[in-house]
Symmetry: C2
């Protein structure tokens, strides 16, 4: 990727500290020897970097136990194992259509504890949401008192303005232009970052889920609406204001019904939760539980349920054609009800996808069910909150006690 | 963007050499003082980097002339001006529906010379295209004999496999799975890289056209079909195999006609060149000249021409909704016939775009006509051929004569 600026020695050190910390945060305890190989840096640099991260209180080092020592390497001087310190934590929050979930997550991705509160579907006053979230957060922080809480990441089902976290549009909460992020930061006295739930979902599935190590990923999650999050060459597709990825409103059937967005035949009018439920003779609004019940009924042979699942599976495949033609992803991860439908009828989704995709007649794209289930956006919210630390540990933690740094960049 | 590996001192030096060379290649002659500021490196590092690039034969340095000296800085010791050397060249080739263009392009983007050969529309044997391209290339290289020819970049109207340059699908040339890139490399005895014309178009418009300095750009070019190229956070959207960006087949009218791809109502069935021509009562196949004639006739008040331009402008706006919802670009650049239509009826394109875009009711996206006209993919092909050099000048040119490099990374 083209760079418009150079890299100074100071930036080099920060980048390398971040790369090492990200590695152990993502992969867990790792020996210095493995880090040397994987990061492409020499042994003394790795030693200096881990020493720095240790003095910042971000990692600990110890001799390998029987379990962590690599096989065949149990003689000779063992390589120290570097572990992330889970007492460095963030608060992850998922706002959802019918619940708020708040979790305390330690470095390394350990969920230390979590709380959930249900609420009725529909519009909610932003101040009351801030208050409720704040109560849950204080409760968790009081009980666990982590050594260090870096900040808060919030998953929002809607469009979040990148520049300031304004909730530009959140139909499930009835929000338009709500300064939720700023209000919560003021209330908690901590840095708060908000992101779109599907964007956080793709990050989560890439770091800890169904698409680990894959650089070109489309994550599509279905509930009442359809959300899309995309990794493009390993980078999150954000768009200039942060609103990219709205694929629920791609046209798939212009003879169809009018969508809440004003267009006709949007993808989410064909594959939303309530389409599945009502086609199967159920009432709308039953949420994931009702969806699971329909999918199970279809598996058990109930005709209307079968027809409904088949209809949604077909239209899922049709919509995915556009995803493949536009993004040419290596992996498509389907979450929420689309994940359930894929698990139930992978044949039908793939058949409709491949029937008119431009240039992948062999059906090269790999369709996967989300691995983190309902938690993907919560996990993504934690990653969002950790991201400033992982990008530049020194900027977040401050310089450690005086030490020689000159060797760090070797 | 997350990094999975560290940066070594050697990589640092290569990255900084590349960043400096890219800067002068893109922006032209630049003083050491400006480079120091813009690259964020110190003066002595800039001096060492330019010295290295000079010994590699890639730049020259000289005292500023009256024209290049910054205003108000004409007293005191002037800063040396670093210029790209245009006798380091590449060959840029654009394969088009009715012509082949070959250009010799010097570092800095200077078109030293060019040749064009027309051919009839329709299928062409790949060996004969290789031969024709090769003749034009030899002709240019013999006449100009650049000090150094780094290689060849080719723009192809079709899907190009990233791993080996196989032309997976090139409908305008009648090609499926043609090893054009490998055949041409063998014929010329030089490295050849091929890319999709719209992908190269967005690079070109970003480096030297209508979207300079913009990180989130959608470039959409219309001729017989519609091609899309996208910059996402400054990075080209490629997809895992290189096929991303095929937006001509987004559905816009499922009551419409069947597309050559097999789907119904694809965007390119509504806004292709031949739609504009036949709606206006002209014969299909007239190309850009016939399109210009229809647009001019509309401006002069011819009713059928007006109706046809309005129809295409409306459907252009409808299709752009999906582009905005999926990519949230800062700038949309329209090229080819879509550029002409935008120039003619910007009001109508914007009105239809904004009538049902999800979250940009203010119409924040900036619609622009391509600045490089018919040359955007040719310019992009040159940039493609220069890209290995700009990423790592040492890897392409080899280490220069022995010098101290230790200071380079400061």
């Amino acid at each position: 990727m083209p760079r418009r600026s150079g890299i100074s020695q100071d930036e080099l050190r920060r980048v390398n500290l971040g790369a090492l910390l990200r590695r152990v945060h993502t992969d867990g305890p790792t020996s210095r020897a493995e880090l040397t190989t994987e990061l492409g840096l020499n042994r003394s640099t790795i030693g200096d970097l881990t020493g720095q991260l240790e003095s910042l209180g971000l990692v600990s080092e110890e001799l390998p136990t029987e379990e962590t020592a690599p096989l065949g390497r149990r003689s000779g001087r063992p390589s120290l194992v570097v572990s992330p310190r889970s007492d460095v934590a963030v608060v992850a929050i998922a706002l959802d259509v019918d619940r708020i979930t708040v979790a305390l997550v330690g470095l390394g991705g350990v969920v230390l504890d979590r709380r959930t509160r249900l609420h009725e579907r529909g519009s909610h006053d932003v101040e009351r949401v801030v208050e409720s979230v704040s109560q849950l957060t204080h409760d968790l922080l009081t009980q666990h008192a982590p050594r260090c809480c870096l900040g808060v990441g919030v998953s929002v089902p809607g469009a979040v303005r990148a520049s300031d976290g304004l909730i530009r549009f959140g139909p499930n909460l009835g929000w338009v232009d709500e300064p939720f992020t700023a209000l919560l930061a003021e209330e908690l006295g901590m840095p708060v970052q908000s992101g779109n739930d599907a964007n956080l979902g793709v990050l989560a599935e890439n770091v800890r889920g169904a698409a680990v190590g894959v650089a070109d990923v489309a994550y599509i999650s279905g509930s009442v609406g359809i959300g899309g999050g995309f990794l493009v060459g390993g980078q999150l597709l954000r768009g200039v204001e942060g609103y990219a990825g709205e694929i629920g409103h791609l046209a798939v059937d212009s003879g169809g019904t009018t969508c809440r967005c004003g267009s006709v035949g949007c993808w989410e009018t064909k594959v939303g939760e309530n389409q599945l439920l009502t086609h199967a003779g159920r009432l709308p609004g039953g949420g994931p539980q009702a969806v699971a019940e329909v999918v199970d009924a279809a598996a058990a042979g109930e005709e209307r349920a079968i027809a409904s699942v088949e209809d949604v599976a077909s239209w899922t495949g049709v919509g995915l054609r556009a995803v493949v033609n536009v993004f040419n992803p290596e992996v498509i991860v389907l979450g929420g009800m689309l994940g359930r439908v894929l698990a139930s009828r992978p044949d039908l989704v793939a058949e409709r996808l491949n029937s008119a995709t431009l240039i992948s007649p062999g059906g090269r794209v790999d369709l996967r069910v989300a691995a983190l289930g309902e938690d993907s956006s919560l996990v993504g919210a934690a990653e969002l909150a950790f991201s400033p630390l992982l990008a530049d540990p020194l900027a977040v933690m401050g310089e450690p006690e005086a030490q020689g740094h000159d060797a760090l960049a070797q």
